[in-house]
């Protein structure tokens, strides 16, 4: 098992902060930086993902996909089911460069960033929610409260950032800085969506949440996302995050 510098740092910090002795000494910016570091710590990740879409009346439908992720801002998603969506691929690259592959047309289409606030494939996750970006790049944090187990940060969009959220409340674990809950508020200031990140565990020495549930509290719809066959730090090639691989058959 190979631990990165960040991993060692996180373990040490976790021990220190678990005591609570210095819990109040960190600024909101430092907490958010640590949370971003832990969330994006794995150099790369490959996993199978099962998404369950749950209607307000309890009806469920399932989406299965495979995901490849490298760094903080390169991701490839490919649908395996349902049958009508099989083969559809989405490639997200740095600087808001996104591509959609629709097998029925046999071509890759460039997608501009206007889709980022839209729901992804009928789920409650927006394209933006699924991106593995750093919150610190887009939000200003303030520390609202420190509980026995969590820091509670309030994040407001930096000027110039286009988002449908007026603010976020983020619960950051004291022991490892992993965000376990995020509340998203709409432009009217009302609670809109809640993300719960569970199954937080170390894989290959990196903290990963393998169970996530996004609930739309206004519509009553929710989406659970569970990762299996997770491989971390397997040395994914940069080539995978390209149009070349987006169109390959599997």
């Amino acid at each position: 098992m190979r631990l990165s510098t960040y991993s060692v740092l996180v373990v040490v910090l976790s021990f220190v902060f678990a005591t609570g002795a210095f819990a109040q000494s960190l600024s909101a910016e430092e907490i958010l930086t640590n949370a971003d570091d832990v969330s994006n710590e794995a150099p790369d990740l490959k996993a199978m993902v099962e998404m369950v879409l749950i209607e307000a009346d309890g009806d469920q439908s399932v989406r299965e996909m495979e995901t490849y992720q490298k760094g903080a801002d390169s991701r490839l998603l490919r649908f395996l089911s349902p049958a009508g969506q099989r083969g559809i691929g989405f490639l997200s690259l740095p600087d808001d460069v996104n591509y959609l592959y629709l097998p029925a047309f046999g071509s890759v289409r460039r997608i501009a960033s206007h889709v980022e606030n839209q729901n992804f494939a009928g789920t409650d996750f927006s394209y933006d929610d699924l991106s593995s970006f750093r919150f610190g790049d887009e939000y200003e944090p303030t520390l609202n409260e420190t509980t026995d187990t969590h820091y509670i940060l309030e994040l407001t969009p930096k000027s110039g950032i286009s988002t449908d959220y007026s603010k976020l409340l983020m619960w950051v674990r004291l022991d490892n800085f992993y965000p376990s809950r995020i509340e998203y508020y709409n432009r009217s200031g009302d609670l809109w969506k809640v993300l719960e990140q569970d199954g937080i565990q170390q894989i290959q020495g990196y903290w990963v949440s393998i169970e996530r549930v996004m609930s739309d509290v206004i519509s009553g719809h929710s989406t659970s996302m569970c990762m299996t066959d997770v491989e971390v730090d397997s040395g994914l090639s940069d080539d995978i995050f390209s149009q070349r691989y987006l169109t390959r058959i599997q």
């Binding site: 009508g84 460039r110 960033s113 206007h114 980022e116 599997q250």
Partner: protein, 460 residues
């Protein structure tokens, strides 16, 4: 018009009868394929899927049934993502309407083949990844090749013919049998395509085809006492040799300053036919597929969060002269280069309303510098119920064929639709097409073809 409606209808009926004669052969083929399928389970990541679809159109005014299709589509794919992949798509469909005009044809319908239908191998290709060197991918076999960054109407996409079967459903292509190789360099990709055989465009049923084909004949200056009413149209395919039937193309593409850019070259033939001779004694019009070279370029990117794209192509056609014995030779396609281009943008508003608009000069079927019209397309779309419902209240195409008098030379197509997905894998689409116009243009020619349509698809 070059030929009468009934003549074209006869031609269409003949084509359908030929299709029927091979019906039993196709069924045998399916049986063999089914048996062979059992051996395919040894393949890596084998996936078998497809869909069942039914689609029906009915005219607004006379309630004429204009389209009846029931389709079983089977897709098979396998591969391992790093070394190879294979893909095949077979389509079995019942199409059109029962054609019986005698009692004997009622006796043993299956045997007489009075129910039209057919089997089509839509695609069948093998991908070799990182072969023969790590920076090259190859695709061999029957494949659809779709180039360009614009939405559905691509002047640089000239390898795979357009599938104009449903005329207002633009952007569909037919596969070609060929070879494609792409070299992926650090900053530049080079794609080369070679297609040894010629594949023509698929046309819609006769009443729609006439609107397309009349574009070629509208410029003919025939003597006043000469009428082509009732003439038979005869297609002359290119000779089946590499000089005449092959097409090749290449494309350089790169990513620069946030934009995807490409330059392309195509050598081949138009996939829509042009009249080249008329025999008054035999009442036959012969149509050919002229050669053409195309140099094109396209880009796609964003300004802020608005998606933008553009695409243009210079066409270098060969001259086509119309030979009518006893009359002066007339030029139906001149060899003067001409440009077709398209530019567009799209955006999704905060409330989820998606808007897409494009302007273009020269439509899919328009050939020659004198025959290009200007078009504007505009589409508004919004999802509801977590994408279970998609409403397209406005899908509009407007054409102007003469800017000196646009009020008498315009065309309009309005195609709203509603798609509902009650369950996973089930999709129901209901829509309509309203066509209007004045003067000489595609939509004006179709203005009596207003229709409603219903399409239902279940994927598996």
């Amino acid at each position: 018009m070059i030929s009468s409606h009934s003549d074209t209808l006869r031609g269409f009926s003949r084509a359908m009868l030929n299709m029927r004669s091979t019906w039993r052969h196709h069924l045998n083929l399916i049986l063999v394929l089914t048996v062979c399928t059992s051996t395919l389970f040894a393949l890596e990541n084998l996936s078998i899927g497809g869909y069942v679809q039914t689609e029906n159109h009915v005219g607004f005014d006379d309630l004429e049934l204009t389209w009846n299709e029931n389709r079983l589509n089977m897709k098979l794919s396998a591969g391992n993502f790093m070394n190879y992949g294979l893909y095949s798509e077979v389509q079995l469909r019942g199409f059109g309407y029962v054609a019986i005009d005698s009692v004997s044809m009622l006796q043993g319908l299956e045997q007489s083949g009075s129910y039209p239908g057919g089997v089509e191998l839509r695609e069948a290709y093998l991908d070799l990844y990182s072969f023969p060197i790590s920076s090259v991918d190859l695709r061999l076999g029957r494949q659809i090749i779709n180039w360009g960054s614009a939405d559905a109407l691509n002047p640089t996409s000239n390898i795979s013919p357009d599938n104009l079967e449903i005329l207002l459903d633009f952007g569909k292509h037919i596969a070609v049998d060929g070879f494609q190789g792409t070299y992926y360099g650090p900053n530049l990709n080079l794609t080369c395509v070679f297609v040894p055989t010629f594949t023509p465009t698929r046309l819609p049923p006769p009443s729609y085809s006439s609107a397309l084909l009349s574009a070629f004949s509208s410029g003919l200056s025939l003597p006043p006492d000469v009428s082509l009413e009732g003439f038979t149209q005869q297609i002359e395919l290119p000779n089946r040799d590499l000089n005449e039937s092959s097409q090749y193309a290449s494309k350089l593409s790169t990513f620069m300053h946030g934009f995807d850019l490409s330059l392309s070259y195509y050598y081949g033939r138009y996939h829509l036919p042009t009249p080249s001779s008329i025999s008054m004694s035999d009442s036959v019009i012969t149509l050919i597929y002229p050669k053409v070279q195309v140099i094109g370029g396209d880009f796609a990117g964003a300004i802020g969060s608005v998606g933008i794209w553009g695409e243009g192509a210079v066409f270098f056609p060969e001259e086509v002269l119309l030979d009518i014995p006893g009359l002066p030779v007339e030029e139906v396609l001149d060899d003067e280069p001409y440009v077709r281009f398209i530019a567009g943008c799209d955006y999704t508003f905060g409330n989820g309303v998606y808007v897409n608009t494009q302007v273009l000069h020269g439509f899919l079927h328009e050939q020659g510098s004198e025959n290009l019209n200007d078009y504007l397309t505009f589409r508004v779309e919004r999802d509801f119920m977590n994408s279970r419902l998609t409403l397209v209240p406005a899908s509009i195409a407007i054409s102007v064929s003469d800017w000196d008098d646009p009020s008498e030379n315009y065309g309009l197509a309005y195609v709203p639709e509603l798609t509902y997905r009650p369950f996973d894998n089930v999709e129901l689409t209901f829509g309509g097409a309203i066509l209007h116009g004045e003067g000489e243009n595609l939509f004006r020619q179709l203005k009596d073809r207003d229709e409603l349509f219903l399409k239902a698809r279940a994927s598996f």
